[in-house]
Symmetry: C3
Subunit: 140 residues, 3 copies
Amino acid sequence: MKIFQKEIALKPHKRGFHLITDLILEAIPELSQINVGQLQVFIKHTSASLTINENADSTVRLDFESHFNKMVPENAPYYKHTYEGPDDMPAHIKASLLSSSVEIPITKGQLNLGIWQGVYLCEHRDYGGSRAIVITAFGV
Amino acid sequence: MKIFQKEIALKPHKRGFHLITDLILEAIPELSQINVGQLQVFIKHTSASLTINENADSTVRLDFESHFNKMVPENAPYYKHTYEGPDDMPAHIKASLLSSSVEIPITKGQLNLGIWQGVYLCEHRDYGGSRAIVITAFGV
Amino acid sequence: MKIFQKEIALKPHKRGFHLITDLILEAIPELSQINVGQLQVFIKHTSASLTINENADSTVRLDFESHFNKMVPENAPYYKHTYEGPDDMPAHIKASLLSSSVEIPITKGQLNLGIWQGVYLCEHRDYGGSRAIVITAFGV
């Protein structure tokens, strides 16, 4: 088995949903050495998350932000964890509704994504700062 | 390490939640050769998804459809990505609330699922058509 | 490749969100033998789930319970799967909104989590009883 792992820091992104597929591919050129396998991207935070979705039309990412803000509102009367600001507790919930990791098959040295699929960094805080991600690729 | 990978096309399913555990098992008979490992099922689309849930009572799957339609409604006034029809943007959001993949442990040549667990294809479009999935099993 | 797998039974937890990171680490001391790899925790149930979130302030976990109860209410008029009690169908939906598994990178014999990340057992039933989880760690 081959296994490669990289930890990188993403520059700060504004609150919202951002395509990071190219950043991942740049970080792990060893992917080309894997014929069959799997790649994981893991985010080491609890107020930002990862998901896979549409990679072409930026309005999809705007609508994600609008909908998640509605489904997980700020200042809900039942929140007790409020001392880090109104964007904090919703950020934690959104992060678990999405995921701390994505797992993608590797086929012939490439991510075997559908043509419309890309990896999103989901930044749920107003000022989340830099985010650390761990990329692990393994296979034969 | 042993690793096996298959890409298959699922026939079109109507909008809703469908059990596909048996289709997965049929597609990868090499599973029986793995004593300890993991299986991934990955869907190459952004308006259909995968999850694991109850495999016995079909009303659970109906209730999933009802609830997701309520939680992620069509025609929300804040949607900007509307040109592919009212079922499109909700489909993208539902796909990320669920997942593009499921990962299941393999034990003694079989999926180590609970007795009530099955894999769902979650078809979020009215006419989603055929869906491509990649099945990867690895272990020793 | 090294691969280790353990199946354990968690004692009954009350409805809500509970940190189980230490229980996982205790169950798989072989983790220390893996320099680079990945750990999966999988729950063999459809009315309890797993997620990764904030590991310090217990009010985060209380707010998770409050918000999920609001987002996926009991006794929704459209539920058809009602014969196992009002907490059952919401439990299935919550389980799929979160996940049946978490996957975490392993680096130098340890889980490569962020300092604020922990693994939650999400018990969605009023009386869920003991829960079986399968822990699989692999790598080199």
